[in-house]
């Protein structure tokens, strides 16, 4: 199912949570809403689910206006950060809930519900645990049950609010793969909220980046990382050295650091340089020098930290080989292969 969000606005008291958000989500897509806390990403997800109602704008499911439809009428599957399993029901009852509450002809016969529950327990790799209670499960297992419960109603769209936020790093990684597998197996349009960019970039087909209730950029993980459209995205997605300075005639100057800045308007500007876009410059071609104060080798990558004579902190990431022989306190000549410059 396609979902269209058109100029949606929502305020809590005097604080605007969504400030004219528009977004198109394609059928079968796996989309991440990424942003810092307070960016409005959860509010947007809840507005799609019918758990919040916007003041302005429209939310369409397949061209049908659902802006003010009740949560029950939308047929969405919602997964909460804190699982929100019904604590007094067995796992089987939890998963069957969405089918059990249906009335009349819409309610499947009991045998069919039982079969559906078994299938879903298999899908989330918890076979035979239907008689347990939520309190008897680990966090990761509970979130799998929550996922199965949301999928039981064959939702038109699956919405997940920070689904792995309460889990430890290892479980989070494996559940991430699992969500991708389940998404590919069911083909259901899926939107998840996260503040963890690694999670968003690894899992999603497309990422929508929110800040202060506005969508800053929507694109594939590669697009938002390699071609940020603004200072916020450049600083938020991936690592970057942030430099303040000014642009004059296509050149950025920030302290002793000069960078090419084609197309940027003259005036005050900020530049972002990714650590891995900095390389050791051959003698005579250095753009600037730093004095290294920390060298840290992690697997194939050497991470160098240091300061320019003017005091600007710089972080660089080299292939391990090119950092060979480098010592703390050494003067190092660098040049940037790529920089993102935006008017400040």
């Amino acid at each position: 199912m396609t979902i269209s969000i058109r100029s949606v606005e929502k305020t809590f008291g005097r604080y605007p949570a969504l400030n004219g958000v528009s977004l198109e989500i394609a059928d079968g897509e796996l989309l991440a809403l990424l942003g810092p806390s307070g960016s409005g990403k959860t509010t947007l997800l809840r507005a799609i689910a019918g758990l919040e109602f916007p003041e302005k704008g429209q939310i369409l499911f397949n061209d049908q206006d659902m802006t003010y439809a009740s949560a029950a009428a939308r047929q969405v599957g919602f997964v909460f950060q804190q699982y929100a399993l019904f604590r007094h029901m067995t796992l089987a009852k939890n998963i069957a809930f969405g089918l059990d509450v249906r009335k009349g002809a819409a309610k499947p016969p009991k045998a069919e519900i039982d079969k559906r529950v078994d299938d879903l327990l298999n899908l989330v790799e918890l076979p035979g645990l239907g008689k347990r209670y939520p309190a008897q499960l680990s966090g990761g297992q509970r979130q799998r049950v929550a996922l199965a419960r949301a999928l039981a109603v064959s939702p038109s769209v699956l919405l997940l609010d920070e689904p792995f936020g309460a889990l430890d790093a290892t479980v989070r990684k494996s559940l991430r793969k699992e969500l991708r597998r389940i998404h590919d197996a069911t083909g259901v349009t899926t939107i998840f909220v996260t503040h963890d960019q690694e999670e968003a970039l690894e899992l999603a087909d497309r990422v929508a980046i929110l800040n202060h209730g506005v969508i800053e950029q929507v694109g594939t993980p590669q697009e938002v990382h390699d071609s940020p459209v603004g200072a916020f995205v450049a600083g938020f997605v991936g690592e970057a050295n942030r430099l303040e300075g000014s642009v004059k005639a296509g050149h950025f100057q920030g302290g002793e650091i000069a960078l090419p800045a084609q197309g940027a308007a003259d005036g005050a500007a900020v530049a972002f340089v990714r650590p891995h876009d900095l390389i050791r410059a051959p003698a005579g071609e250095e753009s600037f020098f730093i004095t290294t104060d920390r060298i840290n080798v992690q697997g194939p990558v050497a991470r160098i930290e240091g300061k320019t004579p003017g005091g600007q902190r710089i972080e660089a990431a080299f292939e391990r080989n090119s950092a060979e022989g480098l010592r703390r306190g050494d003067k190092l000549g660098l040049t940037a292969q790529k920089a993102y410059v935006f008017s400040a």
Partner: protein, 279 residues
């Protein structure tokens, strides 16, 4: 010295605190309790039995039970509604509502009784209208029930509000997003989650409803056999120097309270993991 936990006190400190507690409880609670039963049975079993079987005493027992039977369900419904509104919703005036719920705890029960006399009494605001329509509230059973409801209404709401706040609205939202109606969500999700807290609240409310004196005393009129509850009957007998009778009825009242608390303890034992006891 054997190793002990950082927050654990030295053995002599522990013993001292326990001894102080035990002494305090013995003097303030246990001794009076024993004396009630001792005085009731001072002249043997028969006079005590006769005092309880006296028609006025039986009427008082019946009135007390009726009052509790009406008050507790009313306050259960009210308590659940109030707790649900306060814990699961945001609305203007919410903190004012919480303050209102606490009012009966801070207002003297005698004042509560007087308020009802002011409103419903013969000289009260609705006095003429009530007399015209031949409705008796003050110096009659409705007044006693009203006063008891007033005094006991925070018990269940106060028990449920923290419980429901702690549980949050996630489960309700999950139920709604799965297609459940509001009513279905309440019965399938909210109600099962609060049933133990509700039961505790009901038992405490019941104990207080049977024992209420001040407010009931003002609105009752002390008509023997008609508007006397057990606590009022105890006072009358005591003032008439019928000590055996007074203590016999008092002992019965104590017994009802002990049964209530025993039930509560049994429930706590049956549900050890449900939550820590708050009372």
């Amino acid at each position: 010295m054997s190793p002990r936990h950082a927050t654990e006190d030295a053995p002599w400190v522990k013993a001292l605190i326990l001894a102080v507690m035990a002494l305090f409880l013995a003097f303030i609670l246990l001794l009076p309790m024993i004396s009630v039963f001792y005085e009731a049975l001072r002249k043997g079993w028969e006079p005590a039995k006769a005092a309880i079987q006296n028609p006025d005493a039986l009427a008082a027992i019946k009135l007390t039970l009726i009052t509790a039977a009406v008050t507790v369900p009313f306050n259960a419904v009210f308590g659940v509604c109030a707790a649900w509104a306060v814990a699961k919703h945001n609305f203007p005036g919410k903190s004012f509502l919480i303050t209102l719920i606490d009012l009966p705890f801070s207002v003297s029960p005698v004042v509560a009784g007087l308020i009802y006399v002011m409103v419903f009494g013969a000289q009260g605001w609705f006095g003429d209208w009530l007399i015209d329509h031949d409705i008796k509230i003050i110096f009659a059973i409705p007044g006693i029930i009203l006063a008891t409801i007033f005094v006991t209404f925070p018990f269940i709401a106060r028990e449920l509000i923290p419980l429901m706040q702690e549980q949050g609205v996630d489960e309700e939202e999950a139920a709604v997003s799965l297609g459940a109606s509001g009513l279905r969500t309440f019965w399938s999700v909210t109600a099962p989650n609060i049933r133990w807290g509700l039961l505790y609240g009901v038992l405490l409310c019941n104990a207080r409803a049977m024992g209420e004196f001040g407010a009931v005393s003002v609105v009752s009129g002390h008509i023997r056999g008609l508007t006397n509850t057990m606590p009022l009957h105890v006072e009358i007998l005591y003032n008439e120097y019928d000590f055996v009778g007074a203590f016999a009825v008092a002992a019965l009242l104590c017994f009802l309270a002990i049964v209530t608390l025993a039930l509560k303890t049994l429930l706590e034992m049956a549900q050890p993991q449900s939550r820590p006891a708050r009372h």
